[in-house]
Each structure stands twice: as structure tokens, then as C-alpha cells.
């Protein structure tokens, strides 16, 4: 390395630390994500959100499924669970119900959460389960080599749709709202400030909160579709995004070249699953009801 060219022309304070490092398992760095993949960017936003919300990190648990985004759990210095494909949400449900003190975050990809995991997403949203779901949408199944995802835009090429996708693209934010989510937002990895703020917001919300983040997959989606690299995707997000807070989610469809509607679309406070369940049981059983003490210590 040419030291002269990289000389820093000023002093860096002794105690300066990358704010993301306390949140990472530094013994597992470098991570496996490709150059210009946006997943790492979303992790920066998430760590900023954790810092700003002053969360007790011992009580934050992160649950991922399988895929590139699914690897986030392995890198996070939190109680973290790398579960099976599509089933992060039901695992997270059990975790949260056993210990409601935990802040349970599901961090997974579009294929994992909406293809194989679609049914579980729907029901957790319907139940308003107190889970914070961050979906990194790179519009492809990246880890396995670039197959079609339900979010891959029409006419885009993938390894299982070599002549172009013809299936309609899944509108994730519309599904989230329809299924009953309390908070629904979409950003891109270009919108780092807004994304971090949304992530911070959901950490203080109760109920099923969903954030979709569009992210480049330069190695597979971008390259196969001759859309440049990750930086080109980021510039594209900047040029084509329109912030429309409160927009009807049904009007937020995504396409290969079209406008990208971002913003916070839904933010409605509703009692979450446990609140409703307990109220119902109190009502039905009166004094006979004993509040759940599901998580035992070693005395059980």
C-alpha cells in the first residue's frame, strides 16, 4: 500500500471509535457481503438507531432467516439467532412471548420474509405481534446465486428467469398494511438518515412494525440486468425516489425503472398481541387468571 497517498493530513482524536464496532462481533470481520452490497449500510443505520434509542443491548435480540441479509444476526453483538429459511418471524414470536422484556428485531431478506415466510409475516402482522421487522429488499435471491424473488421486477433477468420475469412484483408495504401492521415504512440504502430515524422510531413503538429497505445487489441483480454496480444503484435510488409520507401503500408499487415511493406510510397505535390476549383472559377468567410467567430461571 502506498502510504504517502493515504496519509491523513490531520490528527484523529485518541478515543475516536467507529460507532458501529461495539455492535459487531469484530472477531468475525470482515463480513461476507459483496463490494457495494447495501446490507452493511443498513446495519450502520440500525446501530445508530440503537445508540439514539438508548436501548439496553442485553435485552435486544435479533432473529434472522437464511440469505445474505440473514447473515446480519451472525455479525450482531447481541443475543442473535440464525434460524431456518422463512421462519425467523415465528421463532421471534416464541422468543418474545417467552420473555416480553426483550426487544425482538427480525432482520431478514425479501425472499425469506415474503416468499417462503409470507404466511408467517401475514399472521404476525395480523396478530400485531410486538416484533420489529427490517426487510432488506435487494429484489433477488442473492445468497444462492441470483434466482427470482417475488420482488424481482417484471422484465428483469434472473438465473431462474433467464428471459425476464413475467410475474407481477410483490408490493411488500401494501401487504404489510393489509395484514395489519402498526407501522409501515420504505426507504432505500441511499436514505441513511431517514432509515436510521425510522429504525429508531420502531424501537419505541409497540406492535408489528415493518421497514422495507431497498438495497443494491451489484453482483447478481445489477450485473445480470446491466444496471451498473452498487454505486449506480445508489444514484438511481437518489434520482428516482420520491418521499411521500402517508401515501396509500397500494400506490407504492415498484418496477424496474420507475419511480420509487419512499416514506412512512402507516403509523397507527394498536394494542399488541399480548395486551389483547391478557385483557381477554382477565375478562373471561377474572380472579382465576394468572399472568403468564413463561420464562423460567433454573428453578423450573
Amino acid at each position: 500500500m502506498n502510504e504517502a497517498t493515504l496519509e491523513i493530513p490531520y490528527e484523529i482524536p485518541e478515543d475516536a471509535r467507529n460507532p458501529v464496532e461495539p455492535f459487531l462481533r469484530m472477531d468475525r470481520m470482515p463480513h461476507i457481503w459483496c463490494p457495494a452490497c447495501g446490507i452493511g449500510t443498513t446495519v450502520n443505520c440500525f446501530t445508530r438507531a440503537l445508540i439514539e434509542s438508548k436501548a439496553n443491548l442485553d435485552k435486544v435480540a435479533i432473529v434472522s432467516g437464511i440469505g445474505c441479509t440473514g447473515r446480519v444476526a451472525g455479525y450482531a453483538q447481541l443475543d442473535s439467532f440464525h434460524t431456518t429459511h422463512g421462519r425467523a418471524i415465528p421463532f421471534a414470536t416464541g422468543l418474545k412471548l417467552a420473555n416480553p422484556e426483550l426487544q425482538v428485531v427480525v432482520y431478514s431478506g425479501d425472499g425469506d420474509l415474503f416468499a417462503i415466510g409470507g404466511n408467517h409475516f401475514i399472521h404476525a402482522a395480523r396478530r400485531n405481534m410486538d416484533l420489529k421487522v427490517i426487510c432488506v429488499n435487494n429484489m433477488i435471491y442473492a445468497m444462492t446465486g441470483g434466482q427470482t424473488a417475488p420482488t424481482t421486477p417484471v422484465t428483469a433477468v434472473s438465473s431462474t428467469a433467464p428471459y425476464g420475469v413475467s410475474e407481477p412484483t410483490f408490493n411488500l408495504v401494501a401487504l404489510a398494511e393489509a395484514a395489519g401492521a402498526s407501522y409501515v415504512a420504505r426507504w432505500t440504502t441511499y436514505h441513511v438518515k431517514q432509515l436510521a430515524r425510522s429504525m429508531q422510531e420502531i424501537l419505541s413503538r409497540k406492535g408489528f412494525c415493518f421497514i422495507e429497505v431497498l438495497s443494491p445487489c451489484p453482483t447478481l441483480y445489477q450485473r445480470r440486468n446491466k444496471m451498473g454496480d452498487g454505486l449506480d444503484a445508489m444514484k438511481d435510488y437518489k434520482a428516482k425516489s420520491k418521499i411521500r409520507n402517508g401515501a396509500p401503500t397500494t400506490e407504492c408499487e415498484l418496477s424496474k425503472e420507475g419511480e420509487i415511493v419512499v416514506g412512512k406510510f402507516v403509523d397507527r397505535e394498536r394494542p399488541d398481541y399480548l395486551e389483547v390476549l391478557k385483557a381477554q383472559l382477565h375478562q373471561s377468567l377474572g380472579e382465576r387468571y394468572i399472568e403468564p410467567e413463561v420464562s423460567c430461571c433454573s428453578e423450573c
Binding site: 500500500m1 457495494a36 452493511g40 446495519v43 441513511v192 454505486l231 445508489m234
Partner: protein
Amino acid sequence: MAKGFVAITAERCKGCGFCVEFCPTHVLALSSAFNSKGYHPPHIVASEKCSGCDLCGMYCPDFAIFGGRYAR
């Protein structure tokens, strides 16, 4: 004296260019140097313009750069 500073861990950099592109005051540019993986890490070309906003740090997918403000 600039308001902020940027710290770069060149060995982690994979040359994606996000920090260079999205720094609001164009403090950075990709250098012609290589790190041991063969990527061109960024270098500072306008240090006096750095506000320490840490946007570079938020964008970097490889956790290879961050910004901070000098204490006053």
C-alpha cells in the same frame, strides 16, 4: 481548522465509492493506492471542508470509515 475528521480503515475498504459520492462537501476521493485486497480506498482531498457529519460512516457497507466532530 475543520469542524470534523474522518478515520479510514483502508484494509476493510472494498472500493464501492459510496463515501466519495455522498459526502456533502466532497472531502473524499478514491485514491490510486491499493490495499492488500486490491481495492482503492478513499483518501482525503479537502480536509478543511469536513464537518464530521459521519454520513460516510453511515453509508460504508464495510465499516471502513467514520467521521466525527472535534470536541470544542
